[in-house]
Amino acid sequence: MRNQIIAKAAAVAMTALVPGIAFAGGPVDEELVIDGEIQMITRAAPPEGHPLDEVLSGWLYRTEETRLLETDTFENPGMLEVQDGADLWNTVDGSAGKSCASCHGDAEESMAGVGASFPKWDEASNRPINVELQINKCRTEEMGAEAYKFDAPEQKALTAYVKHQSLGTPVAIDLAEGHMQSWWEKGNELYYTRTGQLNLSCASCHEQNNGNYIRADHLSQGNVNGFPTYRLKQASLVSLHNRFRGCIRDTRAEFPAAFSDELMALEVYVTWRGTGLSVETPAVRQ
């Protein structure tokens, strides 16, 4: 509690000291239109039980230069890797002699809107499944190929390519499937659990302080509708579980493995928190 008060006081002091500089905080009042055609939803009414009044895309918290990069699919540097994903979609791999396209055909048709509904319930493994794991499942069970290792360039590119086919579609996951509700509850609990030497929970930054600065970084609501996201810092696509781990590491805690039960529960819960926002993959962030 004391930390929060200090952080808020610091933010107030900063804005008071440098009036007129446009980094006072808070999301901008702008509309995101991609290629002058696709109207994106960056502000949505929250689903029932959501703690915030309005669900906001992280795009609204970025600087003008960063925001503009996302408005043009040509300038968006993440599209280079999406293009690699398109090549992988059509590349035969594994002992069955199949590519993604052998079963799913043209991704622009077969994958349209699909990314917006992940994570889904997977009956066979009795846990939620995200796009990365679904790709690995197809590879091992249908193609006779090896599963991609976490954050392999191919995994990020193909995941981004699949999710990009839902560009503009509002995020909507089905919590009524299987045991999704209990994973949501587990994710909810993790979201509010303070961890690490800094004793921060996800909510400390993204719920209680979104719009404020944590040192030089402008805190967003932490919605995940743009993942895999192109981060200028890494100059490449960053996967959701990489970002989760990065955040947890920054609280100086030990971080769970990618696709572990903890992070899958968190993915279910945090994806739900962004319900109604357009899929922005590949979003461009700082």
């Binding site: 040509f74 300038e75 540097p77 280079l80 293009q83 100059a235």
Partner: protein, 108 residues
């Protein structure tokens, strides 16, 4: 280097005398030569050091790129189009590779 794919956006047609905007993007690591690898040794410099654009064989735009330019360089410039023809773009790599692409433009 392998797997380098230049991308270019040029209008398909323009009126005679029109000034058009050309956008180019190429995936390239632009390794500055100043970073150290895991073994502690410097990673050798490898950047795109020159970009040129020609229209029907005549130079339109060119620039030299330096190590401070970030990965995946994006270059945007304008050109006046008086006749139909072909834009030829080339990127010159430190290792001697040349990546090229062409775009045709018609007159309305």
């Amino acid at each position: 280097m392998d797997n380098i794919k230049p991308r270019v956006k040029v209008p398909k047609s323009a009126s005679a005398g029109e000034i058009i905007t050309i956008k180019t993007l190429i995936n390239h690591p632009m390794e500055s030569g100043l970073r150290k690898g895991k073994d502690g040794n410097l990673i050798p410099r490898q950047i795109i050091n020159k970009f040129t654009c020609e229209f029907n064989g005549k130079p339109v735009f060119s620039c030299e790129l330096e190590p401070a330019i970030s990965a995946n360089p994006y270059i945007e410039f304008s050109a006046k189009v008086n006749e139909a023809g072909t834009f030829k773009f080339s990127w010159l790599d430190d290792d001697g590779s040349v990546y090229e692409t062409e775009n045709k433009i018609a007159i309305k």
